[in-house]
Amino acid sequence: MRKTTRFGASVLIAAALAGQAFAQDVAREDTVIFDLDRTIKDPENFNWFTPGTKRMHGAHQAMWEPLFILNYATGELDPWLGESITANDANDQFTMKIRGGVEWSDGEVFDADDVVFTVNMALTNEEISSREAATVRAQVASVEKVDDLTVVFNLTAPNPRFAVENFGVRIFGSFLIMPEHIWAGQDPATFANASPIGTGPYTFTSSATNRAIWDRNDNWWGAKAGFKELPEPKRLIWLETGGEESRAQLMVSNQLDAAQNVSLGTFEAIQAQNPKVIAWYEDFPYAVADPCSRQLEINTTIAPWDNVNMRKAVAAIIDRSQIVNVALEGSTVASDTMFAQFGSMAPFIDAVKDAGYALPPNGDPAAGQALIEAEGYAKGSDGIYEKDGEDLSVAIHVNSASTEYTKTIDVIVEQLNRAGIAAKAVPVENGVFWGEVLPFGTYEMTYSWLSCGSVNEPWASMGRYTVKDVVPVGERSPGFNNTSRWNTEGAAAYSAIVDEMGTKSLGDPSVPGLVAEAYQYLDAEVPFIPLVQSAKLLPMNTTYWEGWPTADNYYNHPFFWWNHTHQIIHNLTKAN
């Protein structure tokens, strides 16, 4: 059986590489193969301002470099294309110095003009919708070039987190600078950018719906300018592996170097067959903490979930510890609040807990059922609540890309059904999930992590549920913010407190108090239900490459689909 799957896996690789006449030119030991957990719908399009898989197939890991990288280990911004960024005293003007000697891969110079041009593109084009562009548009009033290596940003409001939020790869991506000499005169809402160039050490070679290939540019500016040495891998491949089983087989047979999340049992099986495969920790639980804790998103505009008590009922029924034990095999913990339980978040989490809004790990179906019955529902003969002859039902959309998602929703569906709500899972493909279901609010409930953002301060997460981001169902939520469409008086009061919090600088002693004050509205109105902390078990193969980020080699986190992957690639060394 294993042989067949392995054969299948080899065919997959062979098919991915077939048709590339130059594929033989680069040896396997010079190639790093990364896992891609989604299909590239439009492989010829490299316009990252528009939705779709335009970045995480290597584009922002190998070709487009960020200005800064937030180092999760130190909490500092590591300079990259940028050298420094400083705020004025009012936190509403930021001056950024960029590195000298940076070049685009076609030899043109990268300078302040490119930065000003790209930021202006985001400011003047309402149609471009990527999260990073929307954030810049919301925060920046104007941008000016001081000299070739200096740019000044004037903000619409004081924002002490401006640098890390926009240019620091805090979560997934950063605002990427595009070459003015390519983009000038193009409409950024429609330009396909089919022959992309960047400043990174790799250039685009080819792509198809299931893979993208990048080859090293030996003329990279960083080596010439003494910024960093050329990275060792000559070729990088992002390959869609399609599911846990084939991911595992490719890892066992050394046809993959870094894999997306697998379940604990699968990782143990991989390691038993290929001891060269490692993860973040050497031993249980192996997985690295992910800053995006999981939650059940609720569309608060759709009956009966527009009723606070019905949302509270669902929240009461859900048993977080069962999700941890069954769906995630004990590899993580239940969430206490909406926040990622990082040490740096402790003051805010504690403030919420002290105010009495902590979430219980265990469910209380009886309390939930009492709330449902108080709304006039009665249980039918099939054990499902009914009102006016209609069953109380809910469809929960779930991204089918990972078993983590589907298994968790299976458990929740089971819990709700047992309590009397006819819940069912609606699995959808990754692209449809992020492209259509989530942003346009075409769901009742769904499993995701849209309060993700805060790593060392509370505003990034809390700011995602303010009323200014509410749009009607069918319109795109700006940057996936407030997809719940939570728009009550409570939400307005919440937003006012969060906005006030947003003007306070990092470490301001009044912030934890404001967090607790704002959190009362989340607790009272339940626009989403926090579930569990996220832990990612990412198998990394040391057969060909060493230097992967681990707890013992913590130069940054290992999420190799993020914009900071440049750091990982520079750290990789050939295994002997």
């Binding site: 699968t266 099986a269 034990n325 469809a395 298994k407 458990v411 069912k424 609606v426």
Partner: protein, 310 residues
């Protein structure tokens, strides 16, 4: 001497008589027996199991995860336990409870779908063969067109669009794709039978079309119908399992196909959780062997040349 000679003769006669009796009743053939036995065994497992086993164990999270069957060890060196004799799956469900509910469910979809499909097929086949003319043209063309359409293709599209359906709805959908073969078969038989003496006699004596079709001709077609029925049960189960293995079947209702889907999806192969996919596969194989044997047995009933002498 005489008695010694007559003894073998008598035995031979008895054997001959026995053989003739078996000849007399072609329904008493071992293939049919074994086939029916296997299927009844699965039904019995479902019926008896429901009384003897705790069926709540079929729900997600009701047992420890990934325990092996009794007498085996899993990768984590946990031994199987008596509480879950066939082991448990990765979602905390008991395998025994899963097959007690799942196996009859799978069979149910097959039987219901082909029962409906056969009813449609019989009606259309008879009408086409007996009435003839334009009616025949329409039905024949329709059946010929439908035969060329692969059912799984359309059902996959339908199920992905409409999502979770109940077992009965799934059976109804499949029934829409299993009527065409019986229609053609019956039409052909009716056409040849229409020329036979007893039908013409019935027509001459003024019997109604309905009477001739269902009272005179249908009884003669019973062995064909059974054979065709069993074939379409097989097709229906294959289609249903195909959908389930793709994850397109009903969600919270255990079926053998869905169990296999979940096993594959959760990486059961690499984790060596062979009981998770192996047990349902084994049961499906048993089911198909049972249906095949019944089909072979029925062939002997309807086709005397297949009956062996010894």
């Amino acid at each position: 001497m005489t008695s010694q000679e007559s003894m073998p003769t008598a035995r031979a006669e008895r054997r001959q008589a026995k053989r003739l009796r078996r000849f007399d009743n072609p329904w008493m053939n071992p293939k049919l027996f074994w086939g029916a036995g296997l299927l009844l065994g699965i039904i019995a497992l479902g019926l008896i199991g429901r009384f003897l086993w705790n069926l709540d164990l079929v729900f997600t999270g009701s047992t420890p995860l990934k325990l092996p069957p009794l007498g085996f060890e899993n990768l984590r060196k946990q031994p199987g336990v008596l509480d879950y004799p066939l082991g448990t799956d990765g979602g905390g469900r008991d395998m025994l409870a899963l097959i007690i509910i799942g196996a009859p469910n799978t069979l149910f979809v097959g039987l219901l779908a082909s029962l409906i499909g056969m009813s449609i097929g019989i009606t259309l086949g008879f009408t086409a063969g007996f009435v003839g003319g334009r009616t025949d043209d329409v039905i024949r063309v329709l059946a010929d067109v439908m035969i060329t359409i692969p059912p799984l293709l359309i059902l996959v599209v339908f199920q992905s669009a409409y999502g979770d359906v109940s077992l009965t709805i799934m059976a109804l959908l499949i029934a829409g794709f299993v009527w065409q073969s019986p229609t053609r078969l019956i039409r052909a038989q009716v056409l040849s039978m229409k020329q036979s003496g007893y039908v013409q006699m019935a027509q001459l004596s003024g019997a109604s079309t309905f009477h001739i079709m269902f009272r005179e001709m249908l009884p003669n077609l019973v062995p064909y119908l059974f054979g065709s029925f069993i074939a379409s049960v097989t097709t229906s189960i294959v289609t249903a399992v195909g959908l389930e293995v793709l994850g397109l079947g009903p969600q919270r209702i255990p079926t053998l196909g869905r169990t296999i889907y979940e096993a594959i999806n959760a990486g059961a192969l690499i984790q060596n959780l062979w009981w998770w996919w192996g047990i349902p596969t084994l049961l499906l194989a048993t089911m198909f062997i049972g249906l095949l044997l019944i089909n072979l047995g029925l062939d002997e009933v309807s086709n005397p040349r297949l009956r062996k002498l010894s």
